[in-house]
């Protein structure tokens, strides 16, 4: 075991370089400036994309950044982590005959300018005296608190971890978003007047009842839990994918990476885990998935990326048991799978074939098979929907004065940063209407 590379910042450094001012200007000039543009519709936060791009073209970078912030306070993160192929760039009218505009990279260009020059949005509203507690400093919570602050409300975020940013800080591979970007974004939210208290866990150091007394309303943006258990023999020897990514961001030099690594799962997090392993020296990285490439949940561009990284795939393969030899991890016993009728997820149900057991050799196994449902729901007695916190159109939970946003309510559709940001924005508007009718 052990990483072959010492310089992990190079191996996991941000994949795409920033656009040069010239490249940005050339790309910005290519934009047609569509009216009621489809890219804006496709963006979950509906950033006025042609407008911010034209402002790059006219070298009005402050105005460009303000245009982005007006719809999305976490533009710097979204510019890096959004699946633009599925969103804005996928809808670009130039996509059919030419190359779509590199919207993500242009947004990053404008956001880099804003963060380098402190060109932050300003608080517009007069102080209302209202106080809102936001639980969790991930993208949804930061967005919501920031929007509330812009409206003049007092927002305090309680974050159980030592640093804000949630998955942006800890759960997104540095290749796509270095930790410093997420932390700087949180500092920007603070500059709007938002208080962020780290190391405070709702239900442990602070009770919900206390918060309800102290604040006019409460917003839960707690995200999801750790990777669920596979319930297979020897599971304790398997590394949690989220912890694996977190370690790669916080302490990459001491991250243990095997020579022959198996990653269980085929979502975007699984691809990230496999990428880390490959880049930090694993000779062979194999992703094991019980369905096929048609059903896998990672984006198509992530799948392409993984293959280019030299990551191998074993489809129709279900983990059955961790093989230990002399107390050391030696492999993963799997069963062959056949696909049956669609299950509750709408995808063909994987049916393990009896007696088809075989062993894939490995000296490290990482699992990235989704996240546990929010445990806070049960703690607070909130109604749930398929395990997620149930909310109405205005993000209100079953408990009056308690709202919920982000991944913890995403019972339908894929969880994503930009959806969390939009939740935060819409919830802030709903809360504003509620508090200042």
């Amino acid at each position: 075991m052990g990483s072959a590379l010492d310089d992990t910042s190079g191996a996991l450094g941000e994949q795409l370089p920033p656009l040069t001012p010239h490249a940005a200007a050339v790309e910005a000039d290519r934009c047609l400036y569509c009216f009621d543009a489809p890219c804006t519709h496709a963006c979950p936060t509906h950033i006025d994309i042609p407008r911010f791009i034209k402002k790059i073209a006219t070298q009005n970078l402050r105005g460009s950044a303000e245009t982005i912030f007006a719809s999305n306070l976490l533009g710097a993160t979204c510019a890096r982590v959004c699946p633009v192929q599925e969103l804005c760039e996928g809808a670009c009218v130039l996509g059919s005959d030419h190359k779509p505009i590199a919207i993500g990279r242009l947004q990053r260009f404008a956001m880099d300018y804003a963060h380098e020059h402190g060109a932050y949005p300003r608080v517009q509203g007069a102080p209302t005296g209202k106080k809102i507690a936001v639980i969790g400093a991930g993208p949804a919570g930061l967005s919501c608190a920031g929007e509330l602050a812009k409206l003049g409300h007092g927002a305090t975020i309680f974050e159980k971890r030592a640093k804000p940013g949630g998955l942006s800080t800890f759960g997104i591979i540095s290749l796509r978003e270095p930790m410093e970007i997420a932390l700087e974004e949180a500092r920007m939210i603070e500059s709007l007047g938002v208080k962020i208290e780290t190391g405070v866990e709702c239900g442990k150091n602070r009770s919900l009842a206390d918060l309800q007394k102290e604040f006019d309303c409460i917003v839960l943006s707690v995200g999801l839990g750790r990777t669920p258990r596979l319930e297979i023999e020897g599971e304790d020897a398997i590394v949690d994918g989220l912890e694996f990514i977190e370690e790669s961001k916080t302490n990459a030099a001491s991250l243990k990476v095997g020579r022959n690594v198996i990653v269980i799962g085929a979502g975007n997090t699984a691809v990230d885990c496999a990428t880390i392993a490959k880049r930090l020296g694993a000779e062979r990285v194999t992703m094991v998935y019980r369905r096929t490439d048609r059903e896998m949940t990672c984006y198509e561009h992530e799948y392409d990326f993984a293959r280019k990284e030299g990551i191998e795939f074993r489809f129709l393969t279900q983990p059955a048991r961790v093989v230990l030899e002399g107390g050391k991890l030696a492999g993963l016993e799997c069963r062959r799978v056949e696909l049956g009728a669609p299950d509750a997820s709408g995808r063909p149900a994987p049916i393990a074939v009896k007696g088809s057991e075989f062993v894939l050799a490995a000296d490290q196994i990482v699992k990235a098979v989704g996240q546990q449902k929010p445990s806070i729901a049960a703690l607070l007695g909130l109604e749930t929907k398929r395990g997620f916190i149930a909310v109405d159109e205005s993000f209100l939970t079953s408990v009056p004065g308690v709202y919920a946003i982000g991944d913890c309510i995403r019972a339908k559709g894929a969880a994503s940063t930009v959806m969390a940001v939009e939740d935060g924005k819409l919830a802030a508007l709903a809360i504003n209407e509620q508090l200042v009718p």
Binding site: C34, F35, P38, H41, A42, P44, E86, G90, V93
Partner: protein, 461 residues
Amino acid sequence: MADLRINFAGIQSPNPFWLASAPPTNSGAQIHKAFEAGWGGAVWKTIGAPVLNVSNRYGAWHYGRQRMLAINNVELISDRPLEVNLREIAEVKRAWPDRAVIVSAMVESKPETWREIVERIEDTGADGIELNYGCPHGMSERGMGAAVGQVPEYCEQISRWVMEAATIPVIMKLTPNITNIVLPARAGVAAGVNALSLINTINSIVGVDLDTLELTPSIGGKGGHGGYAGPAVKPIALNMLAALGTDEIVSKSGLPISGMGGIATWQDAAQFLLMGASSLQVCTAVMHYGYRVIEDLCDGLSNWMDEKGFATVADVCGHSLHRVSDFKDFDLSFRAVARIDESKCIKCDLCYVACNDTAHQCIDLVGADGKFVEPRAYDVRSNGKHDATAMRPQPVVREEDCVGCRLCYNICPVDECIHMVELPSGRDKVTWSQLSKEQSNVTEDWETMKAYRKQVGIEIH
């Protein structure tokens, strides 16, 4: 293969493309290079009075990614000593007997100085002389260039002095910095010059530097108007060319016209020929890309002529002039409407916003169900490329309300997507001239106009 040779007022040239009198024709060495590249002729950078030049003499206008859609300059006439120019002119002409070597001249407005320069030019063996009555900066402050060109009487007087001395063809070059381009041209006709050329550069200030707040370019902190040329001025040049071609006195005189002003491609060249030019001069395109642009100018023009069945340049010359008309003679019953080819449309909706904000409000957004859709009608929670593309409405022209203004056609970024389709208007052919002659009340009184519209079926929403 089309015959590109021309005979312009007796000056022979293997193709109609001459380098205009400007920096590209500053020296013998440059013109050798240009002739090697294939240029048919060159008008030597103006020689004459002694001058001193300044730095930062060229400004430019850029638009988007396109550099130098126009150049602006305060360079004066040749700053090389007269005898050096004259010697090199003689050398070039000796080395290139088949090319047109024309010498541009500008001297003080005295008969003896003009006589002297004409004689010295003729001694070089040059094929012709171009009278620079156009330079808009510097020289005009000293009573030369545009200071002459802007006063038809001066043009005529000086040209008479020149014609008394000259035995080779003389071309009078016109400045566009004048209200009516026809008047100096007529002065040239009266003076008996052999040909005209136009346009010289246009007065211009190219911009102000937003950091220093100085003019661009800044010449030691100052700036001023300079001569404007390049692709952006082409429509102005074409209009002035057409004005000469349709003027009775100028056209009857039969003086050939050397056309210039923004010619950058063979398409531009063909258009100048169609509008009556019989030789063509090029400068800015060469200053941007070098002498090599001559290859496509000739090749493209020749291919186009073959395709159109023009055997010689003379066949093309003035071919479209009879189409130049005045508004009063346009057919008011002509009707065209815009039609969007939905198979090509990329739904950028630029036509929609242009029509609705600034034109005649006759393009609608139509949803998949055939119903009109307002812009940004989608729900705030709708997102993703599938929603954005599947729900995107189609811009459709409401033809009954379309006045055929052609704005959408002009701005559509997709080739061949919007067509202007001629439709029968159901009205009799009539021009404003006829109307004002036959039914003068209609053209003078709104109430009668309204009644007339109702009678012939013109409805303006």
